[in-house]
Each structure stands twice: as structure tokens, then as C-alpha cells.
Symmetry: C2
Subunit: 145 residues, 2 copies
């Protein structure tokens, strides 16, 4: 199987397959006489594993860990669960962050007329809010001339 077939069979683009090989996520493939990479069912299975992990939001680094655990028949499922749990926490944090933005934006959009007049509470909010840091500690900054 050439890289194109492996791509079709796994759903991972040829570009990405080569990249995964380059960064060491998958082993360098054997080459046929014409210098084409040669794939078998095992490799396609691995690529599908990667594809699925990515679709669940695991980073390539996490995916690598999971891949090694998958191939380690003597793994402890606790190790896998730890990776998943950490990722769950990360997803929850990011979702909460975005929901915070969403809530604010929806409120602002609700308050905005959205008409021909220039008056706009959205811009008022962007313009008038507090800076990132109000001044927790004056920060011994040197005043220039």
C-alpha cells in the first residue's frame, strides 16, 4: 500500500502521515524500490487510532502517550485514565472560558440596537473596560525624562 491508499484507508492526509513520521509519532516506513513508503494494515490501524484521538481533542503529545500505552500490553488502565482525565479537565476549563466570553457577548449584542445609529454598547464596553491589571503593586518603574 502506498501513502495515498493508507491515507484513504485511515482518513489521515498523506501530508500528515509524513509529518507524523518526521516528528517520530510513527516509525519511518519501509520503502519500495521506487523510494515510495509502503504501508500495511497495522500502520493503517495506528493511523486510525491517531485520527480518533485527535478527533477527541488529544494533542499529538498526548496521542503519542496513548499510542504507547495501547501498544504496551502490560499497561495499567489507570495510566490511560489519567491522560483522559487531564484532558477532560482541560476541555472543561476551555469550555468555561469560552462560555464566559459568550455570556458577555450575548449580553452586549442584546443591548446593541444593530441599526443605522452609531450608538453602540458593544464598542462602549470594549472602550471603557478596565485594563488587564489595574495596579496590584506600583512596580518600581523608573520614570524617564
Amino acid at each position: 500500500m502506498n501513502i495515498g491508499q493508507a491515507s484513504d484507508a485511515s482518513g489521515v492526509t498523506a501530508k500528515m502521515i509524513r509529518y507524523y513520521e518526521e516528528i517520530g509519532l510513527i516509525r519511518p516506513m519501509g520503502r519500495s524500490g521506487n523510494n515510495y513508503r509502503v504501508y500495511g494494515e497495522d500502520e493503517v490501524h495506528i493511523l486510525r487510532f491517531i485520527k480518533r484521538a485527535r478527533s477527541l481533542g488529544f494533542s499529538l503529545e498526548e496521542t503519542e502517550t496513548l499510542l504507547k500505552l495501547w501498544q504496551d500490553k502490560s499497561r495499567e488502565s489507570a495510566a490511560v485514565k489519567d491522560v483522559a482525565t487531564a484532558h477532560i479537565a482541560d476541555l472543561e476549563r476551555r469550555i468555561a472560558e469560552m462560555q464566559g466570553m459568550l455570556k458577555t457577548l450575548k449580553h452586549l449584542a442584546h443591548c446593541c440596537g444593530g441599526d443605522h445609529r452609531p450608538n453602540c454598547p458593544i464598542l462602549d464596553d470594549l472602550a471603557g473596560s478596565a485594563p488587564g491589571k489595574m495596579s496590584p503593586e506600583p512596580k518600581k518603574t523608573k520614570q524617564p525624562a
Copy 2:
């Protein structure tokens, strides 16, 4: 005011202030005799605007649009609301996507013993799921020798 002061006053790092100038988000600042950038209250206000827009998840491109609308006193609030509404939709889409991942992961984690045994439904899912594309159309691929 030098860039450090502007940074402290706006919450935008000096690095980012220079970058924003480089990509044309903010105008090149005047320089003092020593070639240092010089900032006033107006610039700090603009930087705070950018900071706030970024904290609400607007891209720099969207932020640029909002900044221009802010400075255009004859804007129509509908234009602002359009940008916000599109961003809201984008946030909702991304949140939904992550919630989908979350739901699946929580289920898998729940089903995983997380103990010393190797048996793990999380890995089973990653290994056994369908590929990205099952075969909607066989895709006239040429079979190599």
C-alpha cells in the same frame, strides 16, 4: 510615555505592542531622540480596547474591524453587531464541538476501571472506531502493482 509604561498601563506586553504596530493594527508611533517609541493616553486607550476585544475572543482581524468602527463616529451599530454576532456563532460552534468530545470522553473515562489491570475501554474506543471516511465513493484510485 515609553513602551514599558504603555504596556503597564494597558496590560499589553511590549512585545505585542511592537507586533501590533508591525502588522498595521496600530499606527507606527512617533520616536523620541533616542529612537524610543513615545505613547500618550490615546494610544493606551486603543491598546486597552484591543486587549478587551482579545479577551472576548475576537481575532486580531476582527479586532481591527472593531477598532475602525470605534474610531468611525458615523458607523452604524448594525456593523458592530454583525461582527459580534458572527463571533458568537463561532464560539457556539466551537463550544458545541468541545462538548461533544467531552461527553464521549467522560463516558469512556467512566467505563474505565483506572486500576492496575491493562483492560481499558478508552483504548478500545481509540483503536476500534471507524476511520474518518468509511467509503462514500470508492474514489477511482489507481491500484499499484
